[in-house]
């Protein structure tokens, strides 16, 4: 699997995904370990914006896997919409997040994905998200 920096356009201090564990056309799995110096950590927990950005960048890594396979640079992506997002728990520093991204549909340059993030097999967040990918 390529290095995460080959799959996403983001760089420090706002890298919110460590690794793409697996990917095919329909599903991808990513990981992130929450560190103390994460810019979205407050009082030992990853706050809501950080959880959401982790999901967005997991979707980016998933798309980036496709562009990497074609020998291209990762494309810039922006969150277009978030729907039905439940933020059930805020992960603690040291927790390892595991996220599953499913591609639901794609049209007009927008990727609609569904995401589920777990920590130790408990769901901490899920949502539908639309990512707009720049040409």
């Amino acid at each position: 699997m390529p290095d995460i920096y080959q799959l996403i356009p983001q760089r420090p201090p706002i890298v919110m995904v460590d690794v793409l564990w697996s990917a095919n056309e329909a599903v991808a799995e990513t990981g992130l370990t929450v560190l103390e110096d994460n810019i979205f950590v407050r009082n030992g927990h990853l706050r809501e914006p950080g959880l959401i950005e982790h999901i967005a960048q997991s979707a980016a890594a998933f798309a980036g896997y496709g562009t990497f396979a074609r020998g291209e640079e990762p494309r810039l992506g922006y969150i277009g919409e978030i729907k039905d997002c439940q933020l059930l728990a805020l992960p603690a520093v040291g927790d390892a997040l595991r996220t599953t991204i499913r591609l639901v549909a794609e049209a007009g340059g927008i990727r609609l994905i569904s995401a589920e993030t777990k920590v130790k097999n408990e769901i901490v967040a899920n949502c539908l998200m639309k990512i707009f990918l720049k040409e």
Partner: protein
Amino acid sequence: MERSELIAKVNASLADEFEVEESIITPEANIKQTLQLDSLSLVDMVAHIESEFGVKIPTADLGKILTFDALYDYLAEHA
């Protein structure tokens, strides 16, 4: 499925999903304008069609489906 049955089913499900009156869905009407789809919601229509009718519309084909009539034709061909 008979074409008339397909049309009825498509109209009912799109009207429900996009919260418009079924009566404004006519064969020659432009889909984007009638359902008030912007660039963000076009993908919702594709997702809805796939989930309701099991037909995936690739981006290359989507550009040619401008009216509801074109959509009925596409579904009749691919369902």
